[in-house]
């Protein structure tokens, strides 16, 4: 690839990313009231999206080989349990991550 082609390739990635980030704000601008359906989606989507993001983070985990996804399962459970118990974001994240690091470095 020439430098120009590289610049265009990166520009296409920027364009694709920004299209997905700006589109909803362009379609549903401040000037017109947001349709009720879209307003409903805005309220209903986040819980679903957080679920999607957790699955997205764990998509590479193989249940049928290696450690069978056990370290991930345990660490997610520890993170969730810590958070339900103490409701302290930092504690849950640090605790869950430390648990995962110990599991993959020492146990599995």
């Amino acid at each position: 690839m020439t430098l120009t082609q590289q610049v265009i390739t990166v520009a296409m990635c920027v364009l694709g990313t920004m299209a997905t980030r700006f589109l909803p704000f362009i379609i549903f601008s401040d000037k017109r009231p947001t349709p009720k359906y879209v307003h409903y989606l805005g309220k209903a989507l986040p819980a679903a999206v957080f679920g999607l993001l957790v699955v997205y983070c764990l998509k590479g985990v193989s249940v049928f080989s290696g450690s069978h996804g056990l370290p991930e399962l345990i660490a997610v459970a520890v993170t969730a349990a810590l958070h339900i118990w103490k409701k302290n974001m930092m504690l849950s994240i640090v605790g869950g991550t430390a648990c995962y690091m110990l599991l993959v470095q020492l146990v599995f």
Partner: protein
């Protein structure tokens, strides 16, 4: 004078929320910079790409696209597919980003998974300016990512990673946001729809192609069950 106080207070409130992102972004950003370096690119590439594209998984993909024959249309389509989930973030943030002047444009530009999650979920204290709070969350997160990528690109193969498993910090963060949202809602229809659709699509379509089908499923189910979900109430 008054403005400085407002900004400083917002920065002080925003910073603690971004600490886990610092750990996660520096780790993954470094790995990305190193990957670009060993693929034969100077540190300018990870620096400029992390500033302009600012989306982790796509940036990793761009490396292999830069090493392949020139295909701009295909590149654009891949970018749109990988990043499509941002459409959902935008729909969720329509109200929260409203009326923030010039800051709104930067907030939308920098709306990655992590900045969206914090800005959507954070309980911003009343005395803190919402616009500046979300601005600093977004800015700090981007600074972590760009600096991590640039340093990784500079150091290249010199670094060896003995921090195995640290990348779990971002997974843990999304688990926390998920649990937070779960505890806040009386009924859990939407959370179950999200996890269920994602898992089923992951099984059927595999890790590389499940995002778009999962998003379509979520949208279809939320539309189909709009009545029960709205009647259940308690949507936070």
């Amino acid at each position: 004078m008054q403005k400085t106080v407002v900004r400083r207070r917002a920065l002080a409130a925003a910073f603690p929320y971004t600490v886990p992102i610092f750990a996660g972004f520096w780790f993954i950003g470094l790995a990305y910079g190193v990957y670009m370096n060993v693929s034969g690119f100077s540190f300018w590439y990870p620096l400029l790409m992390s500033m302009t594209i600012y989306g982790g998984s796509l940036e990793f993909l761009t490396v292999s696209m830069l090493l392949s024959p020139f295909a701009p249309v295909q590149t654009l389509l891949v970018a749109l597919m990988v990043q499509a989930r941002h459409l959902f973030y935008g729909i969720s943030m329509l109200d929260k980003y409203r009326g923030l002047g010039w800051k709104k444009y930067y907030l939308i530009f920098g709306m990655c998974d992590e900045s969206f999650s914090i800005n959507y979920s954070a309980k911003i204290p009343e005395e803190v300016d919402r616009g500046w709070f979300m601005f600093f969350v977004t800015l700090l997160n981007q600074l972590y990512w760009v600096s991590g990528a640039a340093v990784g690109g500079l150091l290249g193969g010199i670094i060896s990673f003995d921090t195995k498993g640290l990348d779990f910090v971002l997974t843990a963060m999304f688990v926390v946001f998920f649990v937070d949202q779960w505890l806040r809602e009386e009924r859990h229809y939407t959370a179950v729809i999200g996890v269920g659709s994602s898992l089923l699509c992951l099984i059927f379509f595999g890790p590389e192609g499940f995002m778009i089908p999962a998003m379509v499923c979520i949208l279809a189910l939320l539309t189909l069950f709009r009545g029960p979900v709205e009647r259940a109430g308690g949507l936070a």
